[in-house]
């Protein structure tokens, strides 16, 4: 809808990645070949990268005239500052004590985790995976190891079904330059009670990271995965890009919970494509917490191709300053008796801006579908801006679908109630916002994380 009665998108001059001066020469097939050579990757992986590169080359860069990108202008990202690789990748450490204090201090390492790893700028520098997990056949590996040691698994699942390179321009870029990440495999019938946790640290400037998460849950297995992303508290200048993909493949009857907490520094452009491929009678929960980065765009999709699949999609975002958060969600019902329930809640401070675009699509024949979608926004300052576009496309008649969106201020009567009990206006507002977020925070599977996030949000509210 770039023209006509609903027109509103601004015309832009598109600065494509390729035409940006400093990366010219670096973003091209030569860089792809250089990465393959540096890492000594096998031929099948090299072929995957080349194939993704081709898709990237053929896919036009989305502009604000592309409906899905109407409110987020990639031309303004500043590609010219970016290199496609980290020029000084970190080295793994040999003991827990050697993990840099800055990183250890940013997380509560190992809290309530069955196993955990630390990745700095895409390189896994430390991991603690107990023997008993490996004994059950559970894999919890960094990306490079998975490529080297489990080629069959990777060839079957890496960017083949959940997020193929054709997913979009940036997913294709990711496929060509993927720089690290995590692979989890849980065999049929195996249950991992505590979370597998990845701590991702990013302190590069003028460089790009392409972390990949591949989560494969076998039939009737159970797994919880938590990813925490953070950057140094000190201010960083040069733009950095995190261009990530997470593929979640749930087998028949599997129960998967996935949480990502994004707290990158303000020098980061964050893009993440998350896609759930849900098997028969599987249950998948995704939670996105978006707090960091300068511009953050997340594509979150669930593909319910099998009967009885269930997807719960939760998100919270709190933006301040000039932060720009854009969430695009897609609930795709292709089979009968599937269920999806989405709740995204956001609050906006200062001159921040949020976009929520959600789509429920029920294909022909997907009868007895239940699909719900709710987006609620609290605007906390005069200069904040929120857009909400909850969409439905329904092609089956025996369905229950609804969506709701609200944008507004905190409820004056609630505020009055709290202030009449002696709270200052600021405290009362804070309390209301915390209560507003609690509906989602309360469903985060890790208690400690829930508590820490509450504290982070409270601090950010100021």
């Amino acid at each position: 809808m770039s023209a006509g009665p609903m027109a509103g998108g601004k015309a832009t001059v598109v600065a494509d990645i390729e035409t940006a001066p400093s990366v010219r020469g670096e973003i091209g097939p030569e860089t792809v070949e250089a990465i393959v050579a540096d890492r000594g990757e096998p031929e099948w992986m090299a072929a995957r990268r080349r194939q993704a590169w081709e898709v990237y080359r053929e896919t036009p860069m989305p502009t604000t005239r592309t409906e899905e990108w109407r409110y987020t202008d990639l031309a303004k990202i500043g590609w010219q500052e970016l290199a496609m690789r980290d020029p000084n990748p970190p080295r793994p450490v040999s003991s827990r004590e050697e993990i840099p204090a800055e990183i250890a201090g940013a997380f509560t390492l190992g809290e309530e985790a069955a196993a955990w790893v630390v990745q700095q700028n895409g390189v896994q520098i430390w991991s603690e995976v107990p023997e008993e997990l490996a004994a059950k056949g559970v894999l919890f590996l960094d990306f490079a190891t998975a490529v080297a040691e489990h080629p069959e698994l990777m060839q079957t699942h890496f960017m083949t079904s959940a997020v193929p390179p054709t997913f979009g321009k940036l997913a294709a870029l990711h496929g060509a330059f993927v720089s690290g990440g995590t692979v989890v495999y849980v065999p049929d019938g195996v249950e991992v009670e505590l979370p597998l946790t990845v701590y991702r640290w990013m302190d590069v400037e003028n460089a790009s990271l392409f972390p990949h998460t591949l989560l494969i849950a076998g039939a009737n297995s159970k797994v919880t995965y938590v990813e925490e992303c953070a950057s140094p508290a000190r201010a960083q200048e040069g733009l950095a890009m995190n261009c990530g993909v997470a593929e979640i493949i749930a087998g028949e009857g599997a129960q998967v919970r996935y949480t990502i907490v994004q707290q990158w520094g303000r020098h980061v452009f964050h893009y993440q494509a998350n896609r759930v491929f849900a098997g028969k009678d599987s249950r998948v929960q995704t939670v996105l917490v978006t707090l960091g980065a300068k511009v953050a765009r997340s594509d979150v999709e669930c593909d319910l191709q099998n009967p009885g699949a269930e997807s719960e999609m939760l998100g919270i975002y709190l933006a301040d300053d000039h932060q720009h958060f854009d969430h695009y969600t897609y609930q795709l019902h292709q089979a009968p008796s599937s269920r999806s329930d989405l709740l995204y809640k956001g609050a906006l401070k200062d001159k921040s801006r949020s976009v929520f675009r959600g789509m429920i699509r029920v294909m022909k024949g997907a009868q007895q579908t239940d699909a719900y979608q709710t987006n609620r926004n609290l605007i906390l300052s005069e200069d904040a801006h929120a857009d909400s576009l909850p969409n439905l496309e329904i092609e089956a008649d025996d369905v229950r679908c609804s969506h709701a969106a609200t944008i507004g201020q905190q409820d004056e009567s609630q505020l009055f109630y709290l202030m009449s009990r002696g709270l200052t206006r600021e405290k009362a507002v804070k309390l209301i916002v915390m209560g507003f977020f609690e509906e989602v925070l309360g469903r985060i599977p890790v208690k400690g994380l829930h508590k820490r996030l509450s504290a982070v949000i409270e601090r950010k509210l100021g």
């Binding site: 809808m1 770039s2 023209a3 006509g4 009665p5 609903m6 027109a7 509103g8 409906e67 022909k364 024949g365 009868q367 926004n377 605007i379 906390l380 300052s381 005069e382 200069d383 904040a384 801006h385 929120a386 857009d387 909400s388 576009l389 909850p390 969409n391 439905l392 496309e393 329904i394 092609e395 089956a396 008649d397 025996d398 369905v399 229950r400 679908c401 609804s402 969506h403 709701a404 969106a405 609200t406 944008i407 507004g408 201020q409």
Partner: protein
Amino acid sequence: MPIDTNVTALNLDDYKYGFKDPDNYVFKSEKGLSKKVVEMISSMKGEPEWMLKFRLKALEIYNKKPVPTWGADLSGLNMDEIYFYVKPSEKEGRSWEDVPEDIKRTFDRLGIPEAERKSLSGVGAQYESEMVYHKIKDELSDQGVIFDSIEDGLRNHPDLFRQYFATVIPPHDNKYAALNSAVWSGGSFIYVPPGVEVDIPLQAYFRVNSENLGQFERTLIIADEGSKLHYIEGCTAPTYSTDSFHSGVIEIVVNKGANVRYTTIQNWSNNMYNLVTQRARVAEDARMAWLDGNLGSKVTMKYPSCYLMEKGASGEIMSIAYAGPGQHQDAGGKMVHAAPYTTSEIVSKSISKGQGRSTYRGLVQVQKGAHHAKSNVECDALLLDPEARTDTYPYIEIDQNDASIGHEATVTKIGDEQLFYLMQRGLAEDEARTMIVRGFIEPISKHLPLEYAVELNRLVELEMEGSVG
């Protein structure tokens, strides 16, 4: 599925207004659109120079703008096959007797004088490209109310006309507004002086008879301070094997404290492309209400809108759409809050049957400085068949922190429990279904004037009969 042949015979395919009359026009333009056609229309109407310039400029804009791809499929619309101007008779009638016999017969069959007998304030009728009849009650014209064809408006009230014409919908607004600006013909010009209340509706009928005709009526309504007006339009066309095209522009100026209600019941035949731009500019403490019923046409794209420009302005859109087999109703509304304390409400109800597709597309925009704006949107879709489709595309853009905006949509089918309950009380299944559908649209149909509400209910009944599967 048992099909009663009597019931099938009543089904929608049997479009009530599908009859056609022999072509008996006094002038018909050549097919297709060109500068020559535009100049010809202007000269036939004896227009002032500025209007001809306006038309030609609009034609340029039209030619530059791409065909919109964001909405319904318009690929079947072939502009080269369309007649852009057809003049049915020499002059516009002031009394029903003046209207040519065959045209009169058509409108008789559509029940227009009958409606007039039900003491409307005024009636206008457009046949092909020109208004053939305009009549308003003497007591209203004595109070200064103007209800003219748009051509007479331009001729008889040039200053008033020029002051407002194309100020609400400029030609560059969208491709089809540009097209209408270039080739407009027919439509109403209405002026209600300050403080005058027109309590009984003014009514206009639009009829397309010729095959491949494009109808481009242009309506300009000015409701001056503190005035009140209800305007109703109805549209029908015969059923041809080739497609026809209707692209109207309706501009409404609602001045301070005025209150305007505009009701459309569009029941074009199922080969009509219906692309209409309707917009009201609403001033301080004024109120605009659109009631938009889309039952006919092959493709409709229509989003009545309210630009709430001053403090305390309010807008309402009630939209009801029925999409049967082969139909795509892409309708909705647009509310722009540009001033403080403005309020708006959109209620949309759609029904999709067979392979019909109904789409709600809407925008609620709260601009910076429009503090204490409030808006609520409710969309409900009812699907009657497994092949039916419904879409909801709401856009909510908020630039003001104390706005209060809500949007809700539901999609359902007729519930087995509801059916069971009614059938248990002795209703046959199709009666029960009809009753449920009627209940579904009731929040909107109750706002219709009685004869339209009756007509709508009758239509729903016809649609629903034989739908028991």
